[in-house]
Assembly symmetry: C2
Homo-oligomer: 456 residues x 2
């Protein structure tokens, strides 16, 4: 019988860092990673195959990270877990014994209940190399592309497929704006404006009722009855956790249909941990289960799970949700709660805004605008969220903001944030986005208090 | 008599945000800013006049920020303060009454005790438009430039003056490396390597003993007796606080020769506040006075001082020291203590390092390496410092690190940092610099503990 101290099921953004974390924290333990894919895609890189890197082979997570960390690799599919015997069984007939198990089986693209999904040239965004290769081949001949769903993946696919191709692209989004689950209206509208300037059509508050055509897709029918021509369709309406083997093994499943976990990323079986898209996330703010599937969340959870296997070391404080995207040349970052979401939860919200330039003086090369919006709890002054628009430094600005949220900084704390600045790299310290947006919120709070003052 | 609720003396990186902060927090107060310069330079932008923006007129802080915030401006020089009468007197003969006073008189370039400093074409780095204009005119004819001092300003001047000019540049640094007060050796050597590749000569552990020439500089004499040709010299050996009027007014001066302050940025007179280069900084780590003159520090102190004028609202937790520079195409950031400095203070230090690429996959445009070093207190795991090398995103990476330091995060906290990532903007979440450098330190601490274990 093959026996390992630790078996990790799944080899993507959760499984790999989980294995590596085990190796770092428990150098003496044997670790096996079992995954079904021969090659592993960088999940967030998938849209960029279609306009920038131009091949799934250039979007691989190399196996070198496993070899370097002395993690054995088995390409096979786990079909069952026997928790009493601490054994897993694979499709090829292997029985593997574990002392600790990490389930990192990820997610599958969600589907929609409409007719015609089985037609040729209707694609889901699967993390599967041959499938993505075939999709790339097809894409090069496409004249009319319909993307169902205007979330990150839909928007990024639209922007990428539009590069170097003579193609008409339409995005169908059932909500009032693209990206509206991640950003407030201002930022969504900016993204939509850029897409529309590039000739991409956006159908808001609309739905696809049917995919038309014989064997091959020829168009789609919208809920309002109108039809659009299409020789390819991409369905990008979210993802659902892969929890089949966990369910079969009798592990508890949470309200978001992901595997239930405690703060240590333990499942209902204390020898089995889970992380990534298949594991349930908990809001940093409300403490309630939330559906949140991001590679960066997966790696954080993996670093909690992996460190805790043989003794609890780390707690997951709840997921903040930090992400960025790029539309055209504009980068958009978001961390924590949007204003809308914060109000929905029940906070009395005060926002702070700042517009600045990312260089000082403005004549320095690469000058462009940064717009930052901060969302505060108006009662306590504690930061709840942040959204930023700018150039590529947005990718790290949003991480500075994530640190502020993780530490529940108040607007006053942020107003005296100790920033570093440089003419060629950042805004001026006098006009630094973080401090100025915080001061703008404080000013509103001061005005509010003055107005509320009851005359004696 | 002219009477203001608040008078701010000085109109640069401390005076402006101090005035703006007063306006934000005390909308009903009258504010006057008195400064001697007709036009104000962006202090950190000065080196970039000489190779990039090419005019001091393109490196101005516009007065619009004062107008917009209803801050009156008087161009004049304050010569005396009468603290009992709460009056200030100006060179032009004005008497101004204040209720609260903010001294933000900044610093002057330090000099060195060598002969020949008065020769023509020997320059200090003054924040003075006509002086800088004259220096720019001269620079365009210079064949041999000697820069005395290899700190930020010296290095940035060397890199800039070298652009689009047929010029020989030498830097004379008395310490073993350029930038060594801000970075550990690895980063200093990287900066030096880039400068030397561009043909800039660096004389380490060396000093200038004399400036040679008749009326005009013709060369310099080094401490080792050798001579270098020079038709211009820039002295960039630091700065000293401008505290004359504070001294005359009898305010306490601290051990670093800056104006003594408490955590609220009050001087020894509770109606007089100070901020910026003329105010004494206190180490975030040791609580002791330190000389630290940065525009970003000035703005933070100004936001503390301005908010506290009529009731204490904010405390300065001590200065961390966060900064970045760019040498060639490489950006270098530093926050908090270097490894060397931390050891000097007496910490048992553990470092963590990570090398990664700033995109995922690597084929995304703009790909380059990031190297991050974290410095931890080995006994508590709390972060003490960080240094990073990479492209322009370093300017904001160092701010995320500043947030970690401000909140005294441990290596474990940072290992599960909730980062946001994106293929076109950042490293992969699996290889994210912050988390991986923290894990690398933790691995060392685990190994250390295992080795120290006494057998029973």
């Amino acid at each position: 019988m093959i026996k390992y101290d630790v078996i990790v099921i799944g080899g993507s953004a959760a499984g790999i860092p989980a294995g590596v974390t085990v190796r770092r924290h428990y150098p003496e333990k044997s670790v096996l990673l079992v995954r079904k894919e021969k090659q592993v895609q960088i999940p967030c890189g998938i849209p960029y195959i279609y306009g920038t890197v131009m091949s799934p082979q250039k979007n691989l997570i190399p196996d070198g990270v496993l070899t370097k960390n002395e993690i054995d690799l088995l390409i096979d599919e786990v079909t069952d877990i026997d928790r009493k015997k601490k054994e897993v069984y694979t499709k090829s007939g292997k029985t593997l014994f574990y002392d600790r198990l990490i389930i990192a089986t990820g997610s599958e693209p969600s589907s929609i209940p409409i007719p015609g999904l089985d037609k040729e040239n209707v694609f889901m965004v699967k993390k599967d190399v041959p499938y993505l290769e075939q999709m790339l081949e097809v894409m090069d001949g496409v004249k009319d592309l319909v993307i169902i769903g205007g979330g990150f993946i839909g928007v990024e696919f639209a922007d990428e497929c539009n590069k170097n191709r003579d193609i008409n692209i339409s995005i169908i989004e059932m909500l009032p704006h693209c990206l509206i689950l991640g950003y407030d209206e201002f930022f969504c509208e900016k993204a939509e404006e850029i897409l529309e300037e590039k000739g991409i059509k956006i159908y808001r508050k609309n739905r696809v009722n049917a995919i038309l055509g014989n064997d091959k897709v020829s168009g789609i029918k919208l809920a309002d009855g109108s039809e659009l021509k299409a020789d390819a369709v991409i369905v990008a309406v979210g993802a659902r956790p892969n929890v089949e083997i966990a369910k079969k093994a009798g592990l508890d499943i949470g309200p978001t249909r992901a595997i239930k976990v405690d703060r240590f990323m333990r499942t209902s079986d204390s020898n089995i941990f889970t992380c990534g898209d298949c594991a349930e996330s908990t809001s940093f703010f409300t403490g309630e289960p939330i559906p949140l599937m991001l590679a960066s969340v997966a790696t954080m959870e993996a670093r909690v799970a992996g460190a805790n296997l043989f003794g609890l070391k780390r707690e997951n404080p709840g997921e903040i949700g930090v992400f960025a995207t790029k539309v055209g040349d504009v980068a958009l970052g978001s961390a924590g709660l949007t204003e809308r979401k914060a109000k929905d939860i029940g906070y009395q919200v005060v926002t702070g805004e700042a517009t600045t330039i990312n260089r000082h003086p403005g004549g320095m090369p690469g000058m462009t605008n940064i717009f930052l919006k901060l969302v505060f709890n108006g009662k306590t002054g504690i930061i709840l969220g942040a959204q930023v628009q700018g150039e590529s430094s947005v990718g790290e600005i949003i991480n500075a903001l994530s640190a502020c949220i993780q530490h529940r900084m108040t607007a006053d704390d942020i107003a005296i944030f100790q920033c570093g600045t440089h003419p060629a790299l950042t805004a001026s310290p006098v006009a630094y986005q973080l401090t100025n947006a915080a001061e703008s919120a404080i000013q509103k709070m001061i005005r509010e208090r003055t107005r509320d003052r009851v005359p004696v």
